[in-house]
Amino acid sequence: MCQRGERQAFEVLVRRYMKRAYQIAFDFTRDGEEAKDLSQEAFLRAYSQIRHFDQRSTFYTWFYRIVVNLCIDHLRRRARIPWERLDGKNQQSAGEEAMGDTSSTPDQEAIAGEVKRRLGTALGTLPGKQRTAFLLRNHHGLSITEIAKVMQTTEGTVRVHLHRAVAALRQSLAELV
């Protein structure tokens, strides 16, 4: 529908995918402004390159690839991944939402907060491909097949990346649990 670059048609896709695009970018950068800029840049690139979209694949697989590549390039340029902010201001509200169960005791909340902090730090130190596979599966619910398309690799490789990512995250909790 958007092959001829009609802006109105594309805006429908923007409305449909903007939250997910922003969330992916935020998961990579942990920074709201950067997530906004990167996700918007991904839409602009998709709009400019929509003629190159191969309709044999789904739009969101193609689009996710643009978002992920932009994020990875951005992190490479920035050469730092502030996952440590997970225990900072940005993450506090999300942490509170995640731990919204008011029946938990203060001890449990403290443990859960520590778990989240460690997971965030460990997630930031994962190799890029493991982090990508994990974020797309765990945070965004893409199937292994879809992730393989986004990462342009085999499903077997995605499974290995995912397993290693989960093992590393679990290891980060070794002293805690």
Binding site: R7, Q40, A94, A98, K116, V166, L169, L176, V177
Partner: protein, 178 residues
């Protein structure tokens, strides 16, 4: 949740990857059935799966943003898309005469012009008015203006002829004297 320090035990190595996939619902048959059968008899793997079920959701809670943010995000993006369209339409206007049929037509015309230029330059096309000039060798054409040269050449020929006649007549007179 996650309270016992001695609970961080490893799963069976041969099942660990399948357990991760099983947690995400990505474990296919027959592996899925194999994992379920194994879980019934392996406490370590059961505990590993419970851990995944406990800590992995903690990493996935998205941060909820207010609708005003999304309205602003969408409007800002619309403006950027409109700017791209404006740039593209300027470009298209500049090259509006390039209709689909115009490109092959222009290409054909260019090829014809090129072919004509090459053939004319190589002299493959002759015009009647120039034919006589074209057939004269260039060395002669270069010296054509110097008619005195040719005339002197004729004069020399005449002198040679007279000398020959003179030699012949003197020979005859000596013969007659004898």
């Amino acid at each position: 949740m996650l309270q016992h320090k001695d609970s961080h035990r490893s799963a069976c190595k041969s099942f660990e990857e399948d357990l991760v996939l099983y947690y995400y619902g990505d474990c296919r048959e027959p592996e899925s059935h194999r994992v379920e059968e194994h879980l019934k008899e392996c406490a370590s793997c059961r505990h590993f799966l419970e851990e995944l079920q406990t800590f992995l959701p903690l990493t996935a809670k998205p941060k909820e943003l207010p609708q005003a943010f999304w309205n602003s995000y969408y409007e800002e993006l619309r403006e950027k898309l409109a700017a791209i369209d404006a740039r593209e339409s300027w470009w298209k206007r500049s090259f509006a005469f390039f209709h689909p049929w115009a490109v092959p037509a222009l290409g054909t015309a260019l090829v014809l012009i090129l072919a004509l230029s090459l053939t004319l330059a190589k002299g493959m096309w002759h015009f009647k008015g120039h034919r006589a000039q074209e057939e004269i060798p260039s060395e002669l054409r270069a010296a054509a203006g110097n008619i005195d040269f040719f005339e002197s050449m004729d004069l020399l020929d005449s002198i040679d002829f007279l000398e020959a006649l003179e030699d012949k007549s003197s020979a005859n007179s000596e013969f007659q004297k004898l």
